[in-house]
Amino acid sequence: MVSCSSFAPSLKLLILLLAIILISGCNRKTMVVLVPDLDGKTGAVIVSNDAGTVDIDTANQATTISGRQSAPKAPEPMTKEEIEAVFSRALAAQPEPPVHFILYFISDSNELQPESLESLPAILQTIQERNSVDISVIGHTDTVGSDEYNYKLARGRAEAVNTYLVGRGVEQGHIRVSSHGEQNPLIPTGDNVSEPRNRRVEVVVR
């Protein structure tokens, strides 16, 4: 593939390269391929520019775009081999997804549900196994109560889990504690709906 910005040390070479560039048209192309995610499910993409829009919602289909002013082409299937040939390095560099733990809490409190107490050792083990230096502890509530009240309640839950982890030897500097209040429910509900599965802390180990 000829680079459009090559440096040519001699005049003869410069002319030759110039000819090649002109012939090839120096077209930059972009290719977008939709592939299944880690669970095997397929989402959708919308590829658009000033000249047009293309939707892809079937796995292993690709659109190419030849420039800002030319519309994205209709999606065409790509074989797994073709996809591998182009993207093998990028795919090989794909990180393992972070491990999520969910701990459930008794309504309107910082106290863990009894079953969740048993999950705590597994969190410590995963942190050790991954040598993780980046752990998020995020508190959540259901939608019963005001936004403000729930922000603080969720924060208190996250702080309680943080205290446990630090007490068991995890470095505080590796943990980020935050609150999403009622704004990031596991189970979306209307306002002021009691939902035990939303009363939780998520621990994310990267």
Binding site: T30, L34, V35, L38, A92, A93, P97, K152, G156
Partner: protein
């Protein structure tokens, strides 16, 4: 948090105790919220408490602005990868933090894998360039954004929580087109100009 006074077990009280002596149970942090009729001595105490609390909040804000929050980390890197930050080129290493504004570049032998704070996974093959334009993951304030530029090379993108909460917040910009997504795994190749 640095530069903040610690109030022991503040969040363990339910509801948290009011910080303004004249109105117990008021949990607003706005200066004007907790006004209520009161005697003069109580007013002075209240004004003092309001200023005290205001300065704590100010200290907390200034403290958090002094250290910009990271938006993700480098999870794996196979040599020949750099991060361009504020005009300085830094060799990319595992567990290094990523910031808004970073430009991540790989050389002819490089590849790199990044995990963002919302679980988005981005990885790049060789000869690739990727800019973090705007990452915001603050659902409690409804602030969500994932805007990146794929300038050159090969990329794998696996969506995270921002896309789940608000798909419209995600934009993958390439030189020729913008990619919007609906919870998904996308591969992008951009040929260099």
């Amino acid at each position: 948090m640095t530069g903040c006074a610690a109030l022991q077990d503040y969040f363990y009280a339910s509801p948290p105790q009011g910080l303004f002596p004249a109105s117990p149970g008021c949990t607003s942090t706005h200066k004007g919220c907790c006004n209520s009729a009161s005697h003069e001595e109580d007013s002075m105490k209240r004004i003092t408490s309001i200023f005290f609390f205001f300065f704590i909040m100010l200290g907390c804000t200034l403290g958090s602005q002094a250290a910009p929050a990271s938006v993700g980390i480098v999870r794996s890197v196979s040599m020949d990868a750099h991060i361009l930050r504020n005009g300085t080129s830094i060799e990319a290493k595992t567990n290094m933090k990523i910031m808004n504004g970073d430009v991540v570049k790989t050389g002819p032998n490089g590849s790199i894998g990044l995990i963002f704070d919302d679980d988005t996974l981005v990885s790049m093959g060789p000869n690739s360039e990727f800019a973090v334009e705007d990452f915001l993951f603050n659902p409690s304030e409804k602030k969500l954004s994932f805007v990146v530029r794929m300038l050159q090379g090969t990329f794998s993108y696996l969506s995270g929580q921002i896309s789940r909460l608000f798909p419209g917040a995600v934009r993958l910009e390439t030189p020729d087109a913008t990619i919007g997504i609906r919870g998904t795994h996308v591969l992008v190749k951009v040929e260099g100009s």
